[in-house]
């Protein structure tokens, strides 16, 4: 089952203005850098982007925000991006802020055929407005619905041509759930190998969730907060 495509251009074929995209990553960690650049090139607009964060002003999803390609963001935290805050406060950008755990679970639910589930997160807050409230074990919960996307775009450390993915460290984050929830899922990887080279016991995302995979290049992997101890 060969999911390999030649390059990012081929991988992103079919992405059109007005579509809903999921993009993996937490902050700038584990984001699909190659595909984001290609979205800038394609100049698709009116996008709804589901991503935990919105990048920084000049990297990650910030690149799409600067070109005003995004109509609506669905995120949990957007604090690192001044342009984002400006567009949001001015009303240029629609924003749906969702608790991080609910965002993760809603993506998973979308991929897992669970249309809705109850969670205590957000009860009694703005997040609960218009949502059903129900008590379980004496505690109020709200009903949250599944999220899906026309395209999910994820970044893995290693992948094989069958679409199996392995992530590294905390770059895993939202990538596995979003891979599940895309009608078409694109995976870009730092190292693309042949089937059988990954240990079947150690694969994080099964190839069944991935429709296209390509070998990425030129990863910058920018660090947002470089915190270190002195060398001795």
């Amino acid at each position: 089952m060969n999911k390999k495509v030649a390059n990012v251009e081929e991988a992103c074929q079919g992405i059109e203005s007005g579509m809903t995209l999921m993009l993996g990553g937490f902050g700038l960690c584990g984001i699909p850098e190659n595909s984001i650049s290609e979205l800038v090139n394609l100049n698709v607009t009116g996008l709804t982007c589901i991503s935990n964060n919105a990048g920084v002003d000049d990297f990650g999803l910030g690149l799409l925000l600067q070109k005003k390609q995004i109509k609506k963001m669905i995120s949990s935290y957007v604090g690192e991006n001044d342009e984002f805050e400006r567009q949001m406060l001015s009303g240029e950008l629609e924003v749906d802020l969702i608790p991080q755990g609910s965002l993760a679970e809603r993506c998973r639910a979308g991929g897992a055929g669970i249309p809705a589930f109850y969670t205590p997160a957000g009860y009694g807050t703005e997040v609960a407005e218009g949502k059903e409230v129900r008590e379980f074990n004496g505690k109020p919960h709200i009903l949250e619905s599944a999220l899906t996307a026309d395209f999910a775009i994820v970044k893995a450390w290693k992948g094989d041509t069958a679409g199996n993915l392995v992530f590294k460290g905390t770059a895993r984050n939202f990538n596995p759930m979003m891979a599940m929830a895309g009608k078409i899922t694109i995976a870009e990887v730092e190292e693309l190998v042949e089937p059988g080279e990954l240990n079947p016991n150690e694969i994080h995302t099964a190839g069944i969730f991935v429709q296209r995979i390509f070998q990425g290049k030129g990863y910058e992997k920018r660090i947002e907060q470089r915190t270190v101890r002195p060398k001795n």
Binding site: C29, P99, G101, G124
Partner: protein, 217 residues
């Protein structure tokens, strides 16, 4: 009056052996620097690591290894990485024994506000709403008043809420407070801070019973 580090130091005294702990951004992060001797705890960061260690030695930082504050970190022996759904399964499923987080306001029924100032600042709630809605044991680390001197320990929160009726304990630069039925129960004073000073800085109902001891740091 406590410094931010001292607030963290006081909170660290609450740690119990065997606890998994989630530390929020800001003052809470500093708690990791003051783990009492003989106490074995493990830190969870909701972006996907359990067994978080100190910042990396200069030159060894790894872009694929960060905490929820986007800071480069290290992983201790026995650490484990996982996806965001699993991370919040740990949190929502109450497998984390202590959550420490900051707040803009808390109210005496245990409400907390820390994610939005309408029309001014909207950073988003990140994992805070999941954390406060799920955790049995939440300690808030915060300054007692804002820069203008107004109390942040209130009868009712004025800002959009992060969670309702969830805060149990608060450690500020002035005091340790417990949220009880009648209001904020004063448990300890910061060194050199009088009960009157705390009373003055507290808009919510402050409950003072007997002699209030000074914190030991």
């Amino acid at each position: 009056m406590l410094s931010k580090s001292q607030i963290a130091q006081r909170i660290a005294q609450e740690l119990q052996n065997g606890w998994y702990v989630n530390l929020g951004i800001g003052i809470p992060t500093l708690v990791a620097n003051y783990i009492p001797e003989g106490i074995d705890v493990e830190f969870q960061s909701e972006n996907g690591i359990l067994g978080m260690g100190p910042f990396p030695v200069e030159g060894t930082e790894d872009a694929d290894l960060i905490n929820a504050g986007k800071q480069t970190i290290t992983a201790l022996p026995g650490a484990v990485f996982f996806d965001s759904a699993t991370s919040f399964a740990m949190i929502r499923g109450q497998h984390v024994q202590l959550t420490v987080l900051g707040a803009m306001e808390v109210s005496q029924n245990g409400d907390i506000a820390n994610w939005k100032i309408p029309g001014k600042m909207v950073k988003g709630m990140g994992g805070a709403m999941d954390l406060v809605a799920s955790a049995d044991n939440i300690i808030v680390a915060m300054m007692h008043t804002n820069r203008a001197g107004a109390s942040k320990i209130l009868k009712n929160c004025s800002l959009p809420l992060t969670g309702v009726g969830c805060v149990k304990k608060i450690v500020t630069n002035l005091a340790v407070l417990e949220v009880v039925k009648e209001g904020f129960k004063l448990i300890e004073r910061a060194p050199g801070v009088s009960v009157e000073e705390i009373q003055q800085a507290t808009e919510g109902d402050l409950i003072i019973e007997g002699d209030i001891p000074e914190m030991k740091l």
